[in-house]
Symmetry: C2
Subunit: 147 residues, 2 copies
DNA sequence: GATGTTGTAACAATTATGGTTACGACCAGA
DNA sequence: TCTGGTCGTAACCATAATTGTTACAACATC
């Protein structure tokens, strides 16, 4: 029940895609197609285009349409943190409150929502601080070092 | 697509249940039934029993069976942190890697898993540090202050 | 025994996630 | 102007997680 096979892989895929584009451009190519990226990620090109559409709205990537179309970075890898990517994909909250509002007649039922929300906010802030520490340039450096 | 209506509420429910038991015992009662707790949480008693079974295995709660049965805390509220509760419910990872293994022929596909895993580990460590800062005693104090 | 509660299995309803097909929009180049 | 390749996005499916629900045996107190 707790194996979480289907947890969110969007941050992983998005970081992978951007890093791939960055390396590809660094090797002299203008744009990368969703097909190429999907081959590296091992998924369907539509999954890549869906994610890159969000990254594009967030100002991390740009697309060119028509023939010879594809994707390019909107900023250098060094100027994109994992927090930027995380925000771009609009993640839901890590922890949810009660599915159904608890009993407001009960002291605990009445007050625990706000009490936990304060903690959850701090947790998410810590998570964001941590993600902000790593840029995609750092990720690419690790990737190349591992060869 | 991103509304996340069904995120994990288990930490919320588990903290609620334990806090409720703690307050109930502090008011002079020996044990609390899953029925009573479920009324405060506004859910089904089985949901409470399922969660308390895990908390019991983790040494946070104890149950008594037979007539006049119910639940009690295994430790004082001040000795239970939200991290203890979090670990007890065996949460899955916050971020997942690729659903299907990426292309190992590609430099990025080959190296990005380990690179991101290192970051994700740091993020989860930060999350745990943050959860460890708050005890259920703190939560109860906030709850009572809010009345 | 009789009673009330736990512990747990089994199943349903709802939702998120990722994959897939399809197709119009778009644009460089012939 | 046409052709070909790619984006952008809608629509749908399969799978799995989550929560709620019913059911019932196990158990302990009276």
């Amino acid at each position: 029940m707790e194996s979480d096979v289907s947890a969110n892989s969007r941050l992983t895929i998005a970081a992978h895609a951007l890093t791939w584009i960055g390396l590809y451009q660094r090797r002299g190519h203008e744009v990368a197609t969703s097909e190429q990226i999907a081959t590296s990620v091992n998924t369907n090109p539509v999954v890549i285009r869906r994610l890159l559409a969000k990254l594009s709205k967030a100002g991390l990537a740009d697309s060119r349409r028509g023939a010879g179309a594809g994707w390019m970075l909107a900023r250098d890898l060094a100027a994109i943190t994992l927090l930027d990517v995380y925000q771009a994909i609009e993640p839901g909250p890590i922890f949810a409150l009660h599915p159904a509002a608890p009993n407001p007649e009960c002291v605990v039922g009445h007050g625990i929502g706000p009490a936990l929300t304060a903690v959850y906010d701090d947790v998410e802030a810590a998570l964001r601080r941590e993600l902000a520490k790593t840029t995609l340039e750092d990720v690419l450096r690790d990737v190349l070092k591992a060869v």
